[in-house]
Structure formats: C-alpha cells, structure tokens
C-alpha cells in the first residue's frame, strides 16, 4: 500500500484478467513503464468468464479490482481481459475510486488511427464477439467493423503450438519463416483458414478492410503468423499493445517529477491453478513470472 510516508513518483498499476492471457498486456506495460510498480491478478478459479452472465462477471471483476486497489495499493487499473472490458467496465469503475482502463477502447482507437478505408476486421473469442463491444467502439469512431470468433486460437496458444520468440519477430518487416514444426504448421494453417473466411465475408459485404484488430490477449503470441496470413498492406493492431500505450498516456502524466522514482517491481496473484499460471505465464509475459501468490477472493 502506498502511504504518504513512502510516496515516490512510482505509480502502482493494478492489472486484472480472468486468466493469464492478460500477461501480454502486462508485458507491454512493463516495456513502456520502467518505473512503475505492478500488481497482476488472474481470477483463474472462475474462468472462463465468457460463459457467465454479465451480472456474475461484474461481481467477480469488481472483487478483483477491489483487491488490487485496497490490498495492493493500485492507483490505476488496467482491465486486461476483453470479456470483462466488454461487460463489466462500468461496474469496475463504480467499485473502485481510481481510474480504470479497458482494452477495447484503445484497440478501437488504434484501428481508427491506422485505417484509411474505415473498414476494420476484428478477431476475438466467441464471448467477445457476441458482446459486439469492438463493433460498437469502432462505430462511435466512424469505422465499420466485421468481427469473427476464432475459438481454436486460445487452445493452440495454451498448447504451446506457437513459434518460439514470436514476440521478437513481431515487426511486420520480419522475413517469412519456414514453419519450424508440424505443430506450428497446424497453427499457421488454422490462422490462414480463419483469415481467409473473414476476408471472404468482408468482400461479400462489400467492405474494403485495411486493418485487423487482435481482440484477445492470447493473440499477440500468434502475431507473426497472423501478419504472414493477412493480405499485403493490411495493418495488424494488437489491442494489448494499444492498451499499454493508452495507459502510459493516461497514467504516465500523473507522475510527479519532484519525487524519487523506485525501480520497476511486479507481484502476480491468482485465485487458482498457480501451476498452470507459472508454467505458461512466462511465454505470455516474455520473462519469468516468478512466484505466483494464491489469493482467495471469497464467493
């Protein structure tokens, strides 16, 4: 907890996800904010949120938000979960007295900045697509969005059938690589099938999309495969990266230059499945997650 006695210019950022996919958002935040304290909680005991009612999701997310603010001293919250961002952002804002940022608005804003045609594609989980939160956020920005659920991508990432160092090869200019293994070849083919279907649907609707939004926190691990599968010239927007950049703009300004800054620090919490979190989390975070602490948020 930050008290007046130990106050520094080092902000404490709370990051919340229903699982550990949001570690890709945390990863981007760590890169952008070298002098912040971070507390991450994954509500792994109660995932997946996608199959639950809006009321239940709001209640669960508010519990995690209060834990980050009241127990960990978070001064800002980043909701690194597309489902909670889509369905529970208002409830979280009401539950805690600190600024709260979701992943959907920054993703849509980045799409607005990137798109020239005004036609945007969004890939996400079934729950996020059913909420149509990206389509709504795009519409308020004058964009037309076509969303597609890609249910196989999360299990492929969690199975580890991705390229090693996919993060390192993020740049669109990265040279095409030969698929390293039969497993990665499967993932590349699944990505190709989904994007072919999505582009065909867009063409049938008379759209001319030039931007693809990755609307799931697992998808950054597939970014280089996705960039090789999209039509030439299509921009790929990573909503995890967009959310981190928005967080820097919103929260970075609030640092006082007059106070000493502390080194970056990170604590990770989970409500269950600490083993899976520790085992898979490092691939999402791009560095060891270290010891994950188990917390009980109650009912």
């Amino acid at each position: 907890m930050t008290t007046p006695e130990n106050k520094t210019s080092t902000p404490t950022i709370g990051v919340f996800d229903s699982g550990f996919g949001g570690l890709t958002v945390l990863r981007a935040l760590l890169n952008h904010m070298p002098h912040a304290r971070f507390a991450f909680i994954g509500d792994t005991a109660r995932l997946p949120y996608g199959s639950k009612s809006q009321r239940t999701i709001a209640r669960y997310a508010a519990q995690s938000a209060r834990f980050l603010v009241n127990e960990q001293g978070a001064e800002f919250l980043v909701i690194a979960c597309n489902t909670a961002s889509a369905l529970a952002l208002d409830a979280i804002k009401q539950a805690v007295p600190v600024p709260v940022l979701g992943v959907i608005e920054p993703g849509a804003e980045a799409a607005r900045a990137a798109s020239r045609t005004g036609d945007v594609l969004v890939i996400a989980t079934d729950a996020t697509v059913q909420s149509h939160a990206y389509a709504a956020a795009c519409r308020t920005r004058g964009l037309r969005a076509l969303e597609k659920a890609c249910p196989l991508l999360v299990p492929l990432v969690e199975e580890g059938w991705t390229e090693t160092g996919a993060f390192a090869a993020q740049a669109a200019s990265a040279p095409p690589q030969v698929a390293a293994s039969p497993q990665v070849a499967v993932t590349a083919e699944v990505v190709r099938i989904y994007l072919t279907e999505l582009n065909a649907e867009a063409a049938a609707l008379g759209m001319n999309p030039d931007t693809l939004v990755l609307g799931c926190t697992h998808y950054p691990l597939l970014r280089s495969l996705i960039e090789r599968a999209v039509p030439s010239g299509m921009r790929v927007i990573d909503s995890a990266e967009s959310a981190a950049e928005a967080a820097v703009r919103l929260f970075g300004q609030q640092n006082s230059e007059d106070l000493p800054s502390a080194p970056q620090s990170l604590r990770c919490f989970a409500t269950d499945s600490v083993d899976k979190f520790e085992r898979l989390g490092s691939r999402f975070l791009g560095r060891p997650v270290g010891k994950v602490e188990l917390v009980d948020l109650g009912g």
Copy 2:
C-alpha cells in the same frame, strides 16, 4: 415420475454430463435400448468441471443426479462425463438410491477384453488424465496404461472441423478418405501429431500397445480420423459405446417381460447455454436434440 399406476417395463434412464459431449453416450444408449425413457442433463452453466476441486465437482454432480432421480424419475443413472466419473462417482452413488454407472470402468473393461499385449493407450482431456482414473482402472485389470492429454481435440470438435457423417464411417474397415476440407485436414493432422507423440512415448517406455481408449465423450466424432492415424492392427475403444453396452447388461436385465413396453422417449435439460446445446448437440447425438429445457439447480 414413474408411479405404480403407470408402471411399464420401460425403464427410465438418467444421463448426466457437465456439458453436451455426453450426448455421444446417450446416442449409444438410444441405439441399444429402443424401449427406454431417457432424461439427459448437461450442467452447462458450470462447465468446465475439469478446473474445479473434487469437492465442488461432487456437489454439482450430486445436484444433477438428484434432479434426474427425484424430478425425472430415473431408475438408473449413467454418468456420461469422464471428469465426474473419475472424481465424483462415489458421491453420486451416496446422493441417490439408484444404480449408477460411470464411463471409465466400462472403457477399461473393454480395453481388457481387446488387448492381447496388456499395454493400452488412453487419450483424454487434461482433467481426466490428471486424475489417472483410466490408468487405475486398467491397473486393477492387469493392464499397463499410458495416458495423454489432447487439449485441442474438444475445441476442434466443437468448432465442427470434423468429417460429416463421421459416425457412419465408424467401422475400422472404412476405406481411407481424402480429407474433405482444409478444416478436416487440420483436425487429421492434429490427431496424427498427438498419436505420433503418444506412440513414441510408449515405445520409449518399452511398451507394446495394441489398444487405444477414447477417454473423452467428444472423441467419438473423431473416430474415423483416429482409426486412420493409429498403427495397423491397433484396436480403438470408444468408452461412450462401452458404457452403453455395460448399461444394457446392467439395466436391461431389470425389465419385466410381463409389463407392456412404451416407445423410446427423450427429454434434454441444460442449466445454461441452451442455444449452443441445441446447435451442436445434434452432431453428438446423431439426430435432432429437439427442444432443450432450461433448469436451475441452484447454488
């Protein structure tokens, strides 16, 4: 509810699953028992069971079991869910005063009957493998079992990336087919990768497996793909089919020949997600599931 006034020789069988994969077990039961009433409940509001504690699974499964017996008049229960069979069978037996059959013992028994070498392979979900219930059931029968989790197969089946009429092409003698679509080719390749890995692990352990158990109720929809991917001569055991055959042996005998028999009937219940159940269920059941009734089992 079966009362003495309307008693016939028609038994009422209750079938329980955490989702709708157990419809493959129900499908086999419908084929084997043309004069039974069936009530199926999928506890879709609370799936997946695999990530929950044994105590929670036992409590949830007992609620569904009591619904089938007390509200639907089931005289026998089939637990068409590998996780619940592995972790909650005793709790269910204590919760209801009727005979209860799981899917794991019949699958292991069929493997015992099929295997000459005594070495058996089992593919299942992560939760079922972690319970080691198949290995234990095989060990008591003098078999050595090697289990492998195949987390991508359930989402591939639920995405519909399977062969149309896979059930019709179940026979091992079915001629190899050219994969009908890029989607089915992906699934075939995933099956090949998993089985290649499993056979390599078995060889490294000095095993000589001749039997493969499908330890997940989704896998019968992949049976023809799996049969084409196993080494020549390997028997494929479908635990859904084995459970149905065991149910006929156990429950079929209890019909009285002196009473009239009623035509087969079926009611399906779910605790949530009726849409997905109705949309996907027919592929598992091999016939229309009809109207799925929503029930609230409480906490």
